[in-house]
Symmetry: C2
Subunit: 151 residues, 2 copies
DNA sequence: TTTAATTCGGATAAATTTGTCCGAATTAAA
DNA sequence: TTTAATTCGGACAAATTTATCCGAATTAAA
């Protein structure tokens, strides 16, 4: 009965982040990434990943191009200004920053839950981190072989 | 398609933490808390909470007593040494500390995912916080009316 | 113009988490 | 000893998340 895996983000968001990093890497090299490329490269389920990419396209975080040689891309000049927080926000919303750690609907500095202050600290760290991490740094660390998206 | 609520813990764990804090408060006053007391006090679904309490009893975090005037309790002298981390561990496991932020099965300092270092920092903060927060401080803040478990 | 490669979108299915129901077991009190 | 209050445990149901399938729409290339 206990959870198999407690992840910070939904699966959709995990795949989404990985996909966007890969698309960014390709875009920096003036190439598009097709769905097949992406799922092969990040090792994710194809149809499900397609849905996630659709959502990211609707949110204007990536651009989609239909037809032969189509695929997904990100404008080179945008890659530095896109932050991890935008991707997370588009897929998982903002309750990771805002919601109460114990699930209370009402929980704030005036009427805090017992862990309110402690969680506020952690979550603000998380938020700062996501807001300060750019797609550019993630994509270049991948390009230079320092980091990995599979396995 | 995006998540309604992205919570740090499972619902089971949220209810579990709230329940244990309440039981601790009662135990500090030499009283037992019955399932009904608990679900009324923390505003949680009764049958589901019962399962969570069973798990916590099996994990020896709380003690259960059947029969009239039965309920749940925690030995007074244990309340200070029980940390939030034990409750979370019993209900959600330890993947919140250990798992990769992007869901990779292999992800470590040698073969890191692009966000590995940044997540390691955040998660270590979270872990420290959970390991350093005792049930005693949470229960007394509730007792003194500084914090709340409902709404 | 035809073909083929691609994303889009809707329906559906599987897996997991959340939640309910109810009888069995236990045990204190009447 | 009987009754009633309680937790325990198993089966089941609902909701959400994860995942698949497939035809439609688009569009570049042949």
């Amino acid at each position: 009965m206990h959870r198999k895996y407690t992840t910070m983000f939904s699966k959709a968001c995990e795949y989404g982040i990985r996909a966007v990093i890969y698309i960014a890497q390709k875009s920096l090299n003036e190439e598009r990434a097709s769905l097949k490329d992406i799922t092969a490269e990040i090792d994710s389920p194809e149809a499900f990943t397609a849905k996630v990419l659709q959502q990211l396209a609707r949110a204007k975080i990536i651009n989609s191009v239909k037809g032969p040689n189509g695929g997904f891309e990100i404008k080179k000049e945008d890659i530095d200004s896109i932050k991890l927080s935008e991707i997370v926000n588009a897929l998982d919303g903002d309750s990771i920053y805002k919601g109460c750690g114990l699930g209370l609907k009402v929980c704030n500095a005036n009427e805090p839950c017992p862990v309110h202050d402690k969680f506020t600290t952690i979550r603000s760290e998380l938020r700062k981190m996501l807001e300060n991490t750019s797609l550019f740094e993630l994509a270049t660390s991948l390009e230079t072989g320092l980091t990995y998206l599979k396995r």
